[in-house]
């Protein structure tokens, strides 16, 4: 397995270049969205863990309809305010309504149209 798919080091460019099949094979959740936050990438791992069907999540505003728990200054607001982010934050999500400790990696760059949230349980 190539080195760059580790949760901590996977780059935004690599993520953008991957196919859906490649992203589905990753052991952590991946959500990708442009500035308007509508979901463009939702990998199989994330769909399985959240219990949501990928088809019903695609095109939906991520922070408003899917991940309200991240719709605060700790996550959503950072994407609005910081053009460049590569940060790992400890977080608590409500997967299937259970509080679950996770690590989030937030990725954004002024050169890339799409931002990513990586979720490691």
């Amino acid at each position: 397995m190539p080195q760059e798919i580790a949760f901590e080091s996977l780059s935004l460019t690599t993520l953008d270049g991957m196919s859906d099949v490649e992203r589905d094979a990753l052991p952590f959740g991946i959500v990708g969205f442009p500035a308007d936050t509508t979901v463009q990438v939702y990998n199989a791992t994330e769909a399985r863990l959240s219990g949501l069907d990928r088809a019903s999540v695609m095109g939906v505003p991520f922070f408003e309809a899917v991940a309200q728990c991240m719709n605060n200054f700790m996550v959503a607001q950072r994407f609005e305010e910081e053009p460049e982010i590569d940060d790992i934050v400890p977080y608590v999500l409500t997967l299937r309504m259970r509080p679950t400790k996770v690590r989030l990696r937030l990725l954004a760059s002024p050169e890339a149209a799409r931002r990513y949230v990586l979720i490691e349980r």
Binding site: V66, A67, N72, M97
Partner: protein, 429 residues
Amino acid sequence: MTERSSEEQLLEFLYACPVGLLECDMAGEIGMMNPHAMQHLLPLAGPRDAGNLFSALEQHAPELRSIAAAFAPATGRVCDGHRIFVELGCARRTTPRKVLACTMVKLAPDRLMVTLTDISQQVVQEQRLRQADTWFATLLNGINDYAALTVRPDGEVITGDSGFTRQTGYDLAAVIGQKLGDVLKTDTTGGDLRLDEQLVVAERDGWHLQEGWQQRANGERYWCQRLVVARSRDDETGPIGFSVILRDVPRREAAAEDLRRVLTRDHLTGAANRRHFSHAMEREQTRWRDLRHSLSLIMLDLDHFKAINDTYGHPVGDIMLRRVAEACAPLLPPRGVFARLGGEEFAALLPRYDGEQAIGLAEDLRAAIAAIEVETAGTILTLTASFGCATLDEADGSIDALIALADKRLYAAKRGGRNQVFQPQAAAA
């Protein structure tokens, strides 16, 4: 396209719900919660455990833990729309201060269902309405004179204008450096706030206005509107001081007083009517919440009153009701409200009275009613009443619970033989 399972639909529904929902045990350990609840809880939790409701809110609403713990019944509504003021100061004026409303329902001895809703916008609206009310009242009142002062965050006078001396009779130079609250004595036997208490509210809400009697240096009383406004600078989080405006407002003219009387009084007895009583309760509930003043309620019901109406007719009954109001109203403290709530049911709302003081006053009211004598058709009629008292603390801040508790005790007094005030400790013993 695959058919979505009902579980998926249910999850989607919960993920998208714009109200925070969670379930926890009585210790606050969260079993389930939706994302909206976590959206609010996690930023408040800071380094504390976001998986426990009470730990997460320890900094902003430590009272929730005790409110839940003090709720004795096995099931029921523990609190309804309890407000959590996330930001205390008035630092950022561009966005409304965040206020959450929390409702807790006890479903089983160790199971709480909780909702969290962001009501920041609603609170802003309420504040605007209050402001509009104040302006409107000023138009109606007219103003004789005003005085302006600035004070430090601790209430010490920095500056003032000549209006202060003109209005209060105190020498401004002698007052500078003193605590304004020590100079302006407030009659707190009623519900009026002391100046230092107004500063607390103004620091949180940005401003506070109250009307009440104020004393001039020569002891003369005048009706005064006292407005306290927090002064802040963008680079400071707390207020850097306060502006205080004192307005000498003429008391309402006779016509306005008549109108007010029609709107707020029970036409038969002259006691406050239900509507006025309900407004007064809301106002005092706010003070209870803001400043933790005690607030008590006495409910009383005349004993066997139907028999008087049936035997001697309603005109005699009406005379007796009027005599009850005449006997009771003068015994109340200045900010107390004596009201007729229904046929032969009355109530007294008592700001700053604790449970013991309320029971003491109820005993006085009982004796005053028992001493009433009405002569009719050659007989002397007397009457008695039964009393129940409760405090807003006992009712966890809910007006409905307060009324229900006082009512319950009133009926316990009836069952105990009438002509008595229900004594909680006697029942517990």
